[in-house]
Structures are given as C-alpha cells and as structure tokens.
C-alpha cells in the first residue's frame, strides 16, 4: 500500500475530488493547513504600516491506495490541481505497511 499526500491550493479541492472520484478513489482524508514556500504570502497594510504574511492557506489530502494506483493518483492530482502559478503545491508518495477498516477489521486492499 502507499500513502499519497497532496498539498494543493484550496480552490482546486473540488476539482481534485471529482477527478479522483471518477478515477475510482473511494475515500480520503482532508485537512486545512498552511503552506510555506516560494509563494510568499502577501503584504498587508494596516493603519498605514506594512506587514508580510508568510503563510498561505492550503488543503492537505491523504489517500491510502494500492501500490499500483499510486502513480496514477499522483498524476491525476498533478494534472487537476495545476494552474502553472507558484504555490500549486506538492504531492508525495510514502510506503504504508498495512491498513485496516475500523468498521469491519478488513485489511489492506479490502480496507479501501
């Protein structure tokens, strides 16, 4: 099994979800995070004084998939979340040894 972790721009979340659904991904876990990177946040002016905001809001998606699907899933995410502008995010794959469905105790492929 693999874990695909994707950090993407918030407004792309809906599109990514739909694309993954179409591909056949049946579940994922999503959270709101803040990103730090080349995309530099923004400058805010407050009472005439300027401030740099370093962090940018992002969505983090975690999907456990079978080994064979990992690259496809990454590909779909990259294609769908791409805008070509700095800050589009990262996707990484890491190994998972085992996954269980809490409801049934099913293991691995059967647990997805």
């Amino acid at each position: 099994m693999k874990l695909v972790t994707a950090v993407i721009k918030p407004h792309k979340w809906e599109d990514v979800r739909e694309a993954l659904e179409t591909f056949g991904v049946t579940g994922m876990t999503v959270s709101e995070v803040s990103g730090y990177g080349r995309q530099k946040g923004h400058t805010e002016v407050y009472r005439g004084a300027e401030y740099d905001i370093a962090l940018v809001p992002k969505i983090r998606i975690e999907i456990v998939v079978e080994d064979d699907d990992a690259e496809d899933v990454v590909g779909i995410i990259v294609k769908t979340a791409q805008t070509g502008r700095i800050g589009d995010g990262k996707v990484w794959i890491s190994p998972v040894e085992s996954v269980v469905r809490v409801r049934t105790g099913d293991r691995d492929a059967a647990a997805l």
């Binding site: 918030p10 809001p57 969505i59």
Partner: protein
C-alpha cells in the same frame, strides 16, 4: 387632562422598547454566549420564540387576566381573561401599559430557558410557554402589580398577617418584579431542571461558554434595557394624579432615584462578584462580571424605589457576593441549572425582595421602628416560590408524560442546533483569519 403626562408617556414608549430589547437580543445573547457552540442557536431561539408566543398571548388574554379589573385592589388571584380579550374593550389610554406589561411577561418566560439549555425539544418549550404564563405569570402579576392578593389590597396577604391599618402601612413592596419576574422565573427554572435532568456529561466536562463576547454584549444590553424595566415601573400616587405639580415632582425625582439605584447596585454587585471569584478561584472572570451585572440588576429590581443610593450600593454588594457563591451550588447538589437561572434570578430575587425589609428608607428594619415590612416581604417571597413551584411542577410533569421534554441522547451529543433547527451557528471557514479553505462548504446535490 394633566399636561405633565406627556413627557411621562414619551418615556414609557422608550421604556417599553427598552424592555423588549432585553429579551431579543439581550437575553438571547447573554444565554447564547454561555451555551456551547453546538447549541447557541437553540438557546437564542428559546428567547425569540418566548417573545413570539407570549407577545401574541398577552394581547389575546394576558392583559385581561392580569389587569382588566382596573387595579381595583380586590385581593384576588387573577382577573377575568375574557373581559378584554384581544384588547377589544381596552381603554386606548392604557395601550402603552399593555405594551409595557407585555414585555415583562415575555422576558420572565424567556429567563427560564437558561436552566434547561441544550437538551429540550423546541416544540415542548413552545407548548410550555403559553401554559406557564397563563397559570404562573399572569396570576402573580395580578396579585402583586394588579391590586391582587400580594399587593396592599384588602383581604390581601399583608392584611392577613397584620391588621388592616398596618397592612396599608407595610404593603408589600415590589417595584419592578422581584417576585413576579425573578423569583417566579428562578423557581420555574429550578423545578424544570430537576424534572428534565442533567445534560450528558454534566459535572465531567466543563461546558464552558462558547463565546463570552456575546455574553458581555448581552449583559450590556440587559443593563440598558433594565432602565426601561425599573425606571418605567413608576406608579403615580393619588396626589400626583390629582395635581400636575406633584406629578412633575414625583416624575422627575423618583425616576432619577430609580436610575441611580439601578446603576450603583449593579456596579457594586459586579465588583463583589469579581472579588469573590478572585479570592475563591484566583481569577476575576468576564463571565463573573457579566453575571454580577445581572445579579445586581435582579436584586435592585424590587427595591429600586425604596432605597437610598448608598443603601443600593449595599444591597448590590450583598447580592453580587451571595449569587457568586450560589452558582457553585449546582455542582454540589448536582442539579444542572445550566446557565445559572437559580443562582442569579432566584437568589438575587430573594435578596432584593427581602432586602427591602431591611433597607427601605421608610419602613426597613434599619430605618423604621419594626420588622413588619421584613415579615411581609418574606411572606410574599414565600408565596411566589410556592405558587410558581407548584404550577411549574404540574405543567412540567404534564409535558414530560405527553410530548416529552428531552431530545435523544445522540442528538444532544451531536448538538441541538443541528438536530432541532438544521443549522449551525458559525461557518467561519472560506474566509476568516487565514482566509481558510472551502472545506466546510457543501457540494451541490
């Protein structure tokens, strides 16, 4: 016609509006902020719907049942609910008083809801409202304010205790509703929260206020509205009604005194509540300040016309300290008076009602020669406790065994806002501080 009236009427329009503001949004905010974020809307709705239901009921039979016999001093328990049904036969000169009294009935009913937060079927509350005001509020209003059994009336309670002459002298004092409003609502809250039982997790989880800024706004609006409540409760003497000059004098001096007393008692109660907290818990909290404000306002309500400013500071100080200690009792005795209706309104109402017996500048034990006023005050407090207690118990049981009071346990855990009202109070994503994501937004069907 007495031309001095017109300023007084002008004030009564404002005062009546002030009191309506106390319920919506004042009390709704005070209670809403103290509840959990999953039940704030239900809490606010309980206040709003009290206004909706009691407002209509009041015009239909509430006024008639309370005052249609013209303050005749008959010593009765209530007046005829059909006499001025729908205000059809009400003298238009009384309209503003109908309005003023309407707002009192509304807030008294709404006050009760704080004792049973987060766990009650909305429909059961809606059914309880007209029954309770009809059987508990309208009668007590008639008895105390309408020349009934708890006023200085012939055949009234005071006369039962003392001879007729004395009774007139030490007629029960309740300027703006220590018995009718606060003891009444406080007892009802106690009875209902015992009957309905604790919230799941009570005593184990803190169940802290989810938004104290709302509670502070609510406390501020309640204070403001309370000027309508207390200062609007002036009743003119026969002399004043006969003589414009006397009218003007009473109007200008009594309203000023009541305003000051209302304020300084509240200031003092806020301070003593904070002091008790600082000593007992190590911290003076904003919830304590807000609660102290309400405790002071409650206590001075019956007493605001009878005390001196310095006496009012004293009464407020005692009320703030006692109520601060009283709100802890629910954990001791294990009853879930969720938002401290008992600790603040029942205790504060008793402190104020009985405090008059000591502090009244004319008949109080500290000023006058005897304890007669004190005895009368204790008697009316007890009577109000019993009346409200019995009525609420009967109605509470009736609903318990018909509609039922409580929502299902899993619904209570999930949150009553979503389950009963299909809503949640806040959706701060999709904006907010970090202009966060769209995670909580829906996906179209």
């Amino acid at each position: 016609m007495n031309f001095a009236y017109d300023g007084y009427y002008a004030w009564m329009i404002a005062a009546t509006s002030f009191v309506l503001l106390m319920t919506a949004p004042g009390l709704a905010l005070f209670y809403g902020g103290m509840s959990r974020s999953k039940s704030v809307l239900n809490m606010m709705m309980m206040s709003f719907v009290s206004l909706g239901v009691v407002g209509v009921v009041y015009v239909l039979w509430g006024w008639s049942m309370s005052y249609s016999d013209g303050f005749s001093g008959d010593g009765k328990l209530f007046a005829n609910p059909f006499d001025q049904f729908g205000l059809v036969d009400t003298d238009p000169l009384n309209y503003i008083f109908v309005a003023f009294q309407l707002t009192f009935a509304v807030i008294t009913a709404a006050l009760i809801s704080g004792a049973i937060a987060d766990r009650v079927k909305f429909s059961s509350w809606v059914v309880f409202l007209p029954l309770w005001v009809t059987l508990s509020y309208f009668p007590l209003a008639h008895m105390v304010f309408g020349g009934g059994f708890l006023s200085g009336a012939k055949d009234g309670l005071a006369e039962m205790i003392y001879s007729a002459g004395d009774a007139a002298e030490v007629a029960p004092l309740d300027y703006a509703g220590g018995t009718v409003v606060h003891i009444n609502a406080g007892v009802a809250g106690l009875v209902l929260c015992l009957l309905i039982g604790k919230r799941l997790g009570f005593g184990k989880e803190p169940m802290k206020p989810h938004n104290l800024t709302l509670t502070m706004i609510g406390a501020g609006l309640l204070w403001f509205g309370w000027f309508g409540f207390n200062v609007g409760s002036i009743v003119f003497t026969a002399d004043s009604l006969a003589d414009p000059e006397a009218f003007m004098t009473q109007f200008t001096t009594e309203t000023g005194l009541v305003w000051i007393n209302t304020t300084v008692a509240t200031c003092a109660a806020m301070l003593t509540w904070l002091i008790v907290e600082k000593i007992r818990d190590g911290h003076a909290t904003s919830l304590g300040a807000a609660s102290g404000v309400v405790a002071g306002l409650v206590a001075i309500t019956p007493a605001c016309g009878a005390l001196s400013p310095v006496g009012s500071i004293g009464l407020g100080a005692v009320a703030g300290a006692l109520c601060a200690l009283a709100v802890g009792l629910k954990y001791k005795f294990g009853f879930d008076d969720s938002l401290d209706v008992v600790g603040v309104h029942l205790v504060g109402g008793i402190v104020g009602t009985i405090g008059i017996g000591f502090l009244s500048t004319t008949t109080g034990l500290f000023y006058g020669e005897n304890a007669k006023q004190l005895v009368v005050q204790i008697a009316i407090a007890l009577f109000a406790i019993i009346w409200s207690g019995v009525v609420t118990l009967v109605l509470g049981l009736l609903i318990k065994y018909t509609l039922g009071w409580r929502i299902a346990d899993e619904d209570e855990l999930e949150g009553i806002d979503f389950v009963e009202h299909g809503e949640s109070a806040y959706d701060l994503s999709g904006g907010g501080g970090a202009r966060r994501s769209i995670l909580t937004e829906g996906v179209s069907a």
